[in-house]
Subunit: 464 residues, 2 copies
């Protein structure tokens, strides 16, 4: 058991929090938009700013890891041999800001209104990654050390797909060796309701191309007598889904871990308001697989969604054509323990089996990602629960996310790291949209939670 030195650490945070906020504003003034080549210099400036902030916090070995894209800012404090090693991930790049005229204050001039800090990146992810730097600073300045070993890995390409990240992990395996990945880039449930996201869905993406005659044909002359690729595509796609919303691709559910009764209760307790969702989306009713709630369908069950379909005439009015080809884009969301490649194999076999005569079909595959699910019994998760509870006064909810965070999958696949997703954002903070903001309450509580987390992690029983 480590001595509890969190008192002076939290006192330091309380004393310095105004300065922390001013520093964050400086960070937010750098328009580090990774999607726009014109901001290449700003992205590099943000990387150097982060490196400086780490150094001032007392972090050692600060350096820029060169990648095929924007640099990764790395730093570490590894003065506790034998203690767990945490790798903190965040990103210093931000989304574009258009449409600019919808911003109430300029996106790179941070402004505080109603207890919220407005700026591009305030929540996603500069604000959230910065609180990790400040938590480390508080430990190092107040008591001279951290109770665990912490490595920082801040990338500059998250908003454009983290394309260079897997190679960077591959070539820095030793440097990045750790026991747990900590990411603050997700959401709480609501103000005062912290959440730990313990599961992400994976993804398998593919395209079905159907080819008929070698050119478009007149549907008067040939109609009724030749294969129509649209008909074939429609038949193939319709064969994939039953009236109860189940996916009929053979073997699709074979590796899906059934939801336990306890987990279903926990998911129900998250309290997703289906009627509010329905109203917000403007649909007459929600849809999906029979026997599951909306929240389960969108986070804990796999999907097969057609994202796009096209073939033949799309203009105004009518054109009497039988097209030579038709296409569909599909993504599947996967849950543990489905494997992207295997799912694509199953779909390809299904397509082959259901292709009507006379047409030729090709299935093209895109990159996939495995699903992620953390064990709720993992010491690093239990430590996070304690830290949250001490700061927010309530146990965090355990949530699942329907989307994929490919970097989590990469860290798990390449470095073998379990992940703790401690998000401090809130729904409605407009990330990726005008008027992005961050609730200052969660900036401050976030720093305190992370400070306590290192203490809880040190005492969690996790082996270093």
């Amino acid at each position: 058991m480590n001595a509890d030195l969190t008192g002076p650490v939290l006192a330091y945070v309380e004393r310095e929090k105004d300065r922390f906020l001013e520093e964050l504003k400086d960070f937010l003034r750098i328009p580090s938009i990774s999607a726009l080549p014109a901001h290449k210099g700003d992205v590099e400036r943000a990387a150097r700013w982060v490196a400086g902030a780490l150094e001032r916090a007392g972090i050692r070995g600060v350096r820029l890891l060169e990648t095929a894209g924007n640099p990764v800012v790395y730093g570490e404090w590894v003065g506790k041999p034998g203690a767990p090693v945490a790798l903190v991930y965040g990103h210093y790049d931000v989304q574009p800001v258009d449409p600019l005229h919808l911003w109430e204050t300029p996106p790179f001039e941070p402004a505080i209104r109603d207890g919220k800090l407005y700026a591009r990146g305030a929540s996603d992810d500069k604000g959230q990654m910065f609180l990790h730097i400040k938590a480390a600073e508080a430990w190092l300045k107040a008591v001279g050390e951290l109770p665990v070993n912490v490595k920082f890995f801040f990338e500059g390409e998250e908003e454009v797909g983290s394309g260079a990240l897997p190679a960077c992990l591959e070539s820095n395996r030793d440097l990045l060796a750790a026991d747990v990945l900590v990411v603050s880039d997700t959401e709480m449930l609501a103000p005062g309701r912290p959440a730990i996201c313990y599961a992400l869905r994976g993804i398998a993406a593919l395209q079905i191309d159907v080819y008929g005659a070698k050119s478009d044909l007149h549907s008067g002359i040939y109609g009724g007598g030749v294969p129509n690729p649209i008909h074939a595509l429609v038949e193939i796609l319709a064969s994939m889904r039953g009236p109860d919303g189940r996916i009929l691709v053979e073997g699709f559910y074979d590796r899906v871990r059934p939801l336990g009764a306890e987990e279903r209760v926990a998911l129900r307790d998250v309290g997703v308001d289906e009627e509010a969702v329905r109203r917000e989306l403007g649909v007459e009713e929600l849809a999906g697989e029979a026997g599951y709630t909306y929240y389960e369908r969108t986070t804990a069950r796999p999907t097969l969604e057609v994202n796009g379909i096209y073939g033949g005439f799309q203009g105004e009015g009518t054109k009497t054509v039988i097209p030579a080809e038709a296409h569909a884009k599909i993504t599947c969301r996967l849950v543990s323990d489905q494997e992207p490649e295997e799912i694509m194999d199953l779909i390809e076999a299904h397509v082959a089996k259901h292709t009507p005569r006379g047409v030729r079909v090709e299935v093209r595959r895109f990159d996939g990602a495995r699903p992620f699910v953390a064990s709720l019994d993992h010491p690093a998760i239990r430590a996070a629960v304690s830290a949250y509870e001490k700061v927010y006064g309530v146990k965090p909810a355990f949530t699942r996310m329907g989307g994929s965070i490919p970097i989590v999958e990469s860290f798990h696949r390449i470095l073998g790291l379990p992940a703790v997703l401690m998000g401090f954002g809130l729904p409605g903070e407009h990330y990726h949209a005008p008027n992005e903001h961050f609730h200052l309450e969660n900036f401050e509580k976030g720093i305190r939670t992370v400070c306590l987390y290192w203490y809880e992690l040190a005492n969690s029983g996790l082996k270093g």
Copy 2:
């Protein structure tokens, strides 16, 4: 029984045929492209040229009927009270000529090679309409009268959809009153194998619009839980067709006249080479309704073809979107006695019945056309058989066309006219394409056939 005065008529044709050809060349030199506004003056020049040709042939009452578009050239010879009245339809406008560089000789400089006259409009339709003028001239110059009454109706907008034609028919009902419509704008089967097209399919055209959420949604966050308009559209479309190629829309076949055994033999004798069609189209096999030949499927059976489908992402790669809407374009080819409006009613009811919950569906209708089928026992048809047989030495084949010729339907609907489609074009004469041509053999035989047709019609028993 009228006296057979065809001897001197045919002698006149034989004597004057070189001049006829030179006159046709003059006609073909006028670039009367109705699709291009720059040729508006040429279209009008062609109309005046036709009017002059009719007058020189001895036709009376020649005039231009003003329409909302290009004028109709009208003329008549009605000197046989009590004899049948034939209304001859043709069009003096032509298709555009691009790509110009593919023409071996310029499209508006008629050239003869290998017994074929090359020029835009040579076959479609200047060459074919012109032979009717020359046949009338032969009768009027050689014997001073025609054995029947003939009215000529040559329009200038066929290649752009004959948009002004229905209104023109409506407002000239008395002038155009007749017993039969004669059209020379279709094909023979092959050299030496004349054909009378006795059936055209009608058309019903519509669009299905499916709406889900009020905006596109992220398929990670919402996937599996909200209605996907593409899924709904696919389900609706797939429900319309059975594995045997039958259309499953309730009532779809109710008014379809079954093919008689005799008619099926006649259609088989037309000798469509299915393997040649398959090879030409480059498909592994032909498709369609079980129990019918390719020729029957494409001409004598109704269809429901999806001409276009679109919704969601169509770019390169993948996009994780659930689109807010998806659309399909459909045309049905109809056979007697299907009614376009009724078929659209049936489809709309089918769509309503098969729309999955949660989406909203609209069905939009476009203009339709009724199918056309002539009675093979009609005196005007029997007369055509006799005329063809005398000139070509073989009985004409009775053929069906899979497409629609809307003007035939308009003349039938508005003026109550049965139609005789006496085509003298040949497959491969490149109408609508570079190097359009007309076999001179059929220009000459066509004039003789029409000359004999008026005699046969006068003796057919058709009442005037």
